[in-house]
């Protein structure tokens, strides 16, 4: 899903200039919502997503996929901080690992960080509203939202291709191939996300942003004393 240099070119759609708006939006969004104790969790989440993105799993003959991590990050640390965490992953990959073109960094941030952590998180919230208010409901919502995120990202890629793609192939064929394969990749994304969220809930439910409405008031007695 990392777009290399030269796939899509066009004024104002690509490049460093395109990184600034989404990056500053997620940074200022994060700045207004962050809690001090989330700082280490954001670092852990970003580094986990980086490692998970190295683990390509086979999805069809001669094709692989890997976790994008936007929904996972958003469920763990919140949508804005999650978008920031995945953006950092993409920046590190582009600068150090030659993965994802530098001129396409803005597109990649949109497709993987913003679509996953913001739109995907929106789906997660919708699912949470209709599913039972339990930890199982959180895990299921995260898994389904994560399964849809790569499909959404592939649709957004098709829009970008339509706007500035350098290929000669019609949009219909690109869309059919891209969306088709990302439906399969989405299954892996959903399973990995559900497993990871489930594992964190089992050990430290208080650290899962998307489940904090279910948290027992673990700090209440001491906190009240401190506040007084």
């Amino acid at each position: 899903m990392h777009i290399p240099d030269g796939f899509i070119d066009g004024p104002d759609v690509t490049g460093a200039g395109a990184v600034a708006p989404p990056a500053s939006a997620s940074a200022s969004g994060a700045a207004t919502t962050l809690d001090e104790r989330q700082v280490p969790m954001i670092g852990l989440t970003a580094s986990f997503v980086f490692a998970a993105q190295m683990l390509n799993f086979p999805v069809a003959a001669g094709t692989s996929g890997h976790l994008l991590g936007g929904v996972l990050a958003a469920v763990l640390v919140g949508p804005w901080a999650g978008a920031m965490a995945v953006s950092v992953v993409l920046l590190v990959q582009g600068l150090l690992f030659a993965d994802g073109g530098l001129s396409a960094l803005g597109l990649n941030v949109v497709n993987m960080a913003l679509v996953g952590a913001l739109a995907g998180y929106g789906i997660f919230r919708l699912l949470r509203a209709v599913l039972p208010r339990t930890h199982a409901g959180v895990v299921t919502s995260a898994g389904i939202a994560a399964a849809l995120a790569p499909v959404l990202a592939s649709i957004v890629f098709c829009v970008e291709y339509a706007l500035g793609g350098n290929g000669a192939v019609g949009l219909g064929r690109v869309a059919a191939s891209m969306i088709g394969v990302h439906v399969l990749i989405g299954i892996g994304e959903g399973v990995i996300t559900a497993m990871t969220v489930s594992a964190v809930i089992a050990t430290r439910p208080d650290l899962v942003h998307g489940a904090r409405d279910l948290a027992a008031p673990v700090v209440a007695p001491d906190a009240v004393a401190v506040a007084r």
Binding site: A31, G62, T63, S64, M178, V181, A227
Partner: protein, 125 residues
């Protein structure tokens, strides 16, 4: 709830819930991911690469500007053993990502906690 109160409560929580064990657990899992699983991961093209190769939408592709870097393509240049090359590149990426994300989040929190000193310039007159 006043912000000072919630921050104090949060700090108490982290200390009392033994955050160190959680961090150690994540570190162990990530270590296994990069040194054990990543070298054995599928090397088939990913969804976009496969579609690009099949349809020719990659005809304008340019070489990556930093494609000769020491960690390019998740391999440490000069280390021929795939397992070590991939594992060490992954470990480097994990450490850099951790540092960058933690640093950025820390800056974001500091900005929020001292809004008057940082956002004056951004405020409408």
């Amino acid at each position: 709830m006043n912000p000072e109160f919630s921050t104090a409560a949060a700090t108490v929580t982290v200390r009392r819930r033994h955050g160190g064990w959680f961090v150690a657990g994540v570190a162990a899992i990530v270590t296994v991911m990069v040194f054990v699983v990543a070298p054995r991961a599928s090397s088939a093209p990913d969804g976009l690469e496969k579609v690009a190769a099949d349809t020719g939408i990659d005809r304008g592709e340019r070489a990556h500007a930093l494609g000769d870097g020491p960690l390019a393509d998740y391999a440490v240049s000069g280390i021929d053993d795939t397992t070590w090359s991939t594992g060490l590149a992954g470990a480097a990426g994990v450490v850099v990502t951790m540092a960058a994300a933690t640093g950025l989040a820390w800056v974001a929190v500091r900005r929020r906690r001292s809004p008057s000193s940082v956002t004056d310039a951004a405020r409408p007159a």
